[in-house]
Structures are given as structure tokens and as C-alpha cells.
Symmetry: C2
Subunit: 216 residues, 2 copies
Amino acid sequence: VKIGIVGGTGRIGEGMAMRLSRIHDVLIGSRDEEKARCTCEICLKEASERGIPCRVTWVSNQEAVDGSEVIILAIPYKHLDATMSVLHGFEGKIVISPINPMEKKEFFIYVPPAEGSAALYLRTLLPGSARLCVAFNNIAGNRWRDIDKELEYSVAVCGDDAESKQIVMDMIDQISLMKSYDAGPLSISPAIEGLTPLLNNIGKCNRMKDVGVKFV
Amino acid sequence: VKIGIVGGTGRIGEGMAMRLSRIHDVLIGSRDEEKARCTCEICLKEASERGIPCRVTWVSNQEAVDGSEVIILAIPYKHLDATMSVLHGFEGKIVISPINPMEKKEFFIYVPPAEGSAALYLRTLLPGSARLCVAFNNIAGNRWRDIDKELEYSVAVCGDDAESKQIVMDMIDQISLMKSYDAGPLSISPAIEGLTPLLNNIGKCNRMKDVGVKFV
């Protein structure tokens, strides 16, 4: 699968690129192509040190959309509007949202937009033919980036298009020890996004780092 | 600890009574004392067959409140108002809410009251001196009841009173292989309650039964 990462130079995007480029062609997109080039070089260097394959290319965010079948929006919620306002060409593409709208005051709280979730809002910004799935919400950026460690997590996936959901789930099951779980239609996305602040609070209260989840 | 289970004859209440009565004195409360007596006899029989201790007594729901230091409200959300309207005497007591307000249409969705969660609503029904904690929300009733199986789950706990939260967490850590995690104040309770419909949807979509959770 050709995968484009919009926001591919952030902590999560970089880790995703490193993990996914072992199997897939990955386009690392950024507003700043120089940053994307640096991320590519880091990926290639770390992969070559370990003797693992790495197929990455640096591009603009728009090229990441244009050149991919699956697009991961690895951006914080606060940048969603600005990012989407300058991108186009999502028609027919699979779009993955790992975005969690939350605030940190004393504790983390889930603060979704009026549509009910970041994903339900994002749907209003995408053309009707885009196939939106929610995935990867509950995995900490540091864990993605720590590429010598296995990612032994459950990944809840939701979306309204069965075929694209299956493609995303197959993609997930190829990454480290991740296991995907279909969690239903896009309407249940608040539950997946809202799990992240809970995990963050558990981390904070119990002095644990980067808490993840397994469904058992 | 003296534990009273309001609604102790339901599937979850019965399983809780069986597990907790190995260590604690448990008052099994019910609107129908005859049902509470039956549940007690089942608990005692199953415990004696296995040679494990069992300290249970059947009582009314009001006596379960009056005679206990910790009260578990093992009732469905739809019965919360009716149950609380006939009970009193919660002053100074530790109250545990495992209640999840949700609806099942095609999928399970979290439907909290205007206060934000069942627990935040329950707080308005309790005297100010009651010490409310949220716990046990994400463990399926069948798992509680299947007493020959270990319960290897994580249990998120929230509440505003540190001392009572610690008592509840210690109680949890004594049950089977459960592990408690402090998840913060009562204001984060929507995230704990809202995890249950997600687990139910994962069960439904992946043909799994009684899906639970571990924080890793």
C-alpha cells in the first residue's frame, strides 16, 4: 500500500514512518519540505544501522495526499482546520484519523467539537467519496518512535466503509505486535478518541509513561 | 471492610458477592429479600463446594447501606433514580458506582445525563459527606459470575476523596488478578463509563465475549 503521512515530521509521524516503511512505500509529508527531508534521512539512517528495509520519500503535505492510497493525518487537533484548508484531492482515498481533541488542565479531558468527535468533524471537511477511518488514537508518540521496542497494543478501528476498514486493519496487523479490532461505524469514534485522555490520566496518576491498552 | 451490595441479586452483584465474600463481610441487598436469600445460598453452596470462605448475609437494600462502610451500587442506570429515591443514610459512606449509562441500537453508544456521567449525576443524589468512587465499570457481569476463572483486568478508579479511593483500590487489588489504577477525580468519570460501550462494540464486531481491558 502507498501510504502518505500528513504531518510526517512530528513525533508520532516520524515513528509511524519508521515502522510502516519497513513494509510499505511511505511519503513523509510536511509543510516544511526541509523538515521532511531530515525525517527521511533519520529514518533511512536508523533503518540501515539495523539492516531493515526503509522505503521513504520526502514530499509536501499535498504530494503526500496526491501520491498515496492511504493518508494518515498525523497532526494535532488544533492544526486540523489550518491543515485541511490548504489540502485537496482526498476523493476516493482512505484517510486515517488518529486525532484526539483534548485539553490538559490539572487532568486530561476529552473536548470534542459539536459534531461529537474530531473524526465526525473531519468528515465534514472531506469530500463524500473519501473513506475515513479512525485508528492509532491510543498509542503514545514516544512508543512509535522507540523503534527497537515492540508495540504490543490493541488498536480500535472504526469507519463506515467496510472495505477500507479492512485495508486499515490489515495494515495495523503488520506493524510490530499490534492487533486491530473493528469497533464499528464512525459514529462510535468519540469512544476511541475519548480513551486517550483516560490513558493519559492513568499515566499521570500512577507515574507510568505512555500508557496503552489491550482488549482482553 | 464491611461491603454492602445494593442490587446484589443481579448477575454482576451476585458475581461481586462471590468474589468479595472470600475476604470481606458482604451484605447482599435486594428490593426482594427472598431473592437476596437465594443469592446468599448460591454463594455459600458454591464456596463450600470449592472449600473457600464465604461471609455473606441477605438484607434489604436499605440494610445493605446501613450496615456497611463501602456500598456498591450494582444496578443498571435505568434503575438509579428509583433505587436512590427510597434509600437514605449514605452520610460518610464510601459509595462505588460501576454504572454505565448507555443505549444499544445497532451499536452501543454512551448516553450520559446532562451532568456528564452517571457518577456526576449520582453525586447530586447523595449527601455531600458521601465519598463517591467510580470503579468496576469495564468488567462484564459474566466474568464476575464465572468464579472459577481469574479476572485478569485493569480497573480504572476515579473519585475526589483520596482516602476512600485508596480503600477502593486496595479492595480491587485483593480480587483475583485485578489491578487498580487511579484515573483522577470524579470529573473524568465520563471516560471510564464511556469505555464500556467501546468494549461492547469490539465484542460485537469481532465475535468476542465479555471484552475487558488492560492498561499496558
